[in-house]
């Protein structure tokens, strides 16, 4: 028999070990990517295109492609998602219609990203004849982002006190005016935080762009929306699994992974900054 005290200590120790392991996972991911990616990272790497069958050169077209798709994602998903959240939080009563919308959102957030890829292929690439392109891929990622944007926006709207709405309505504002002039500005920091976090997730997604427009290699840094494009996550996937000289390009793969990580971290920090700054203003 172990004593009560020893048992408690052992329990604490096991939990500590679990937590330590999770931190170890994160630590090893960061440490490996940073130590091995850093040496291959240079200004040239992020400011030029790949050369000599991708065994040398940089990843500028992939950066441009990722930025472009993310912009399309934002242009599509942010207004769409914010409008839907406004409907749910400001207008919808508890009807079967609003419950159906909420159930759809919950389900959409659980749909695997590869299925979004298939849907993008069927709807945008083939159905709407947009072809494999920046546009198709951006819209596909937009659909994927939609449930997150709606959920975070609705949460931000919910935090705006009812008295703000009443104040505007009491002065003779229409409901739309009270939302536009009072509710949305008050919820803006919360909405922005959610949007930036969602976009950082979209920027790192690979599966949805596999069949909707990502390409292994394009010449130049074409910014055309109806063309195939290179993207950071897809580039990393290709360099690490499909390249004919995998061992030779490994440093490039590491550097690509590090750039991708830096982009994601920067976006996340932006979101935290918005949240932090807003808290201090209250």
């Amino acid at each position: 028999m172990i004593s009560k005290k020893t048992g408690a200590f052992l329990g604490w120790f096991v939990l500590l070990l679990c937590t330590g392991t999770v931190c170890f996972f994160l630590g090893i991911i960061l440490a490996d990517l940073i130590t091995k990616g850093w040496p291959a990272l240079s200004w040239e790497f992020i400011s030029s295109g790949p050369t000599e069958g991708m065994t040398t050169g940089g990843i500028l077209p992939a950066i441009v492609g990722t930025v472009l798709t993310t912009v399309i994602t934002a242009i599509f998903a942010v207004p769409f998602g914010v409008c839907c959240a406004i409907y749910l939080n400001e207008y919808a009563k508890d009807t079967s219609f609003s419950r159906l919308i909420r159930a759809s959102i919950r389900n959409l957030s659980g749909v695997p990203s590869i299925i979004y890829g298939l849907f993008g292929l069927a709807l945008f690439v083939q159905g709407l004849s947009l072809g494999t392109s920046v546009l198709s891929a951006g819209l596909t990622l937009g659909l994927l982002s939609l449930p997150y944007i709606i959920t975070t926006t609705e949460e931000a709207l919910r935090r705006v006190p009812a008295s703000m709405r009443e104040a505007a309505l009491g002065l003779g504002a229409t409901q739309f005016e009270s939302i536009r002039d009072v509710v949305l500005p008050a919820a803006l920091p919360g909405i922005l935080t959610g949007v930036v976090l969602t976009l950082s997730r979209a920027a790192g997604e690979t599966a949805p762009i596999l069949f909707t427009g990502a390409a292994f290699y394009i010449t130049g840094t074409s910014g055309a929306l109806n063309q195939e494009f290179m993207a950071l996550p897809y580039h990393l996937y290709m360099l690490s699994t499909q390249h004919q000289a995998i061992e030779q390009v490994r440093p490039l793969a590491y550097a690509t992974a590090l750039v991708l990580l830096i982009v994601i971290v920067l976006l996340n920090l932006t979101a935290f900054y918005i949240r932090y700054k807003h808290r201090n203003n209250d």
């Binding site: 709405r165 104040a167 504002a173 009072v182």
Partner: protein, 253 residues
């Protein structure tokens, strides 16, 4: 007494929140350029009645209204009526001061802007409204300061200024002093006195001394019914009903 003009009235007004019958067959009338106080214990329906005049229940999902409400002869719940116009004519001051997170100037300017008051007139109206609300002297040099930095009493006077700037006919006040200290409360009561020349005021209050200080008429409500209504002095000095007597003497509530 008889030549009083009735500004606001209800006819067999019933209101439910879900299955809860909150207002029971209310027939009330509010005279022009008078201050009418609605008193009664919590949950008696006085705030609910107040908020039904400017149709604040429109957005409450399970609120249901039967009966009529009139602004003079205008049916406030008529299908073809403009709710925004109703709310412009019947202004409201809320229990907790709720200035917009904008500057002092913009708080008042907002109502002018959406109601399409010409740009050139706005500055004067803002100044006037602040003077009418006894706030001008305190804030005239810092109109661009965020309204949320004002004290609670100042915020509430700003909310009154915001309302009077639109020249409503009626001002509804929902326990406007319940969150304020005694000095701020007195300032607002003074203000109410000075406003009644121009406006018809309905004020909900918990505070019976306040009702006696500010109002001309008083309506006592209990559990969704109007128990008694009379001139304020009359109601407090010579209540006709036992319930009223018990309430004003502090036996419950």
């Amino acid at each position: 007494m008889t030549e009083e003009k009735i500004k606001l009235s209800t006819q067999n007004l019933n209101l439910w929140f879900g299955n809860k019958h909150v207002l029971k067959n209310i027939n009330a009338a509010f005279a022009e350029n008078k201050v009418t106080a609605l008193i009664g214990p919590s949950g008696c329906g006085k705030s609910t009645l107040l908020r039904s005049f400017n149709r604040m229940h429109d957005l409450t999902p399970d609120a249901r209204i039967e009966g009529k409400l009139f602004l003079e002869s205008l049916d406030l719940y008529d299908k073809n009526i403009s709710v925004t116009q109703v709310r412009k004519r019947i202004g409201m001051v809320f229990q907790k001061a709720n200035p917009f997170p904008k500057s002092i100037y913009d708080n008042i300017n907002y109502g002018l802007k959406i109601n399409d008051i010409p740009q050139g007139d706005r500055k004067g109206i803002v100044e006037n409204a602040l003077k009418e609300s006894y706030l001008w002297e305190e804030v005239k040099d810092e109109l661009n300061k965020p309204a949320t930095r004002l004290s609670g009493g100042q915020q509430q006077r700003l909310c009154i200024a915001r309302t009077v700037a639109l020249r409503p006919e009626i001002i509804l006040m929902d326990e406007p002093c319940s969150a304020l200290d005694p000095i701020s409360t007195l300032k607002i009561e003074d203000l109410i006195h000075s406003l009644k020349d121009k406006y018809t005021i309905v004020i909900v209050t918990h505070n019976m001394q306040q009702a006696q200080r500010v109002s001309d008429k008083t309506i006592f409500m209990y559990l969704g019914d109007i128990i008694e209504e009379a001139d304020t002095a009359e109601l407090f000095n010579n209540p006709q009903k036992e319930l009223t007597q018990n309430y004003i003497s502090g036996h419950f509530g």
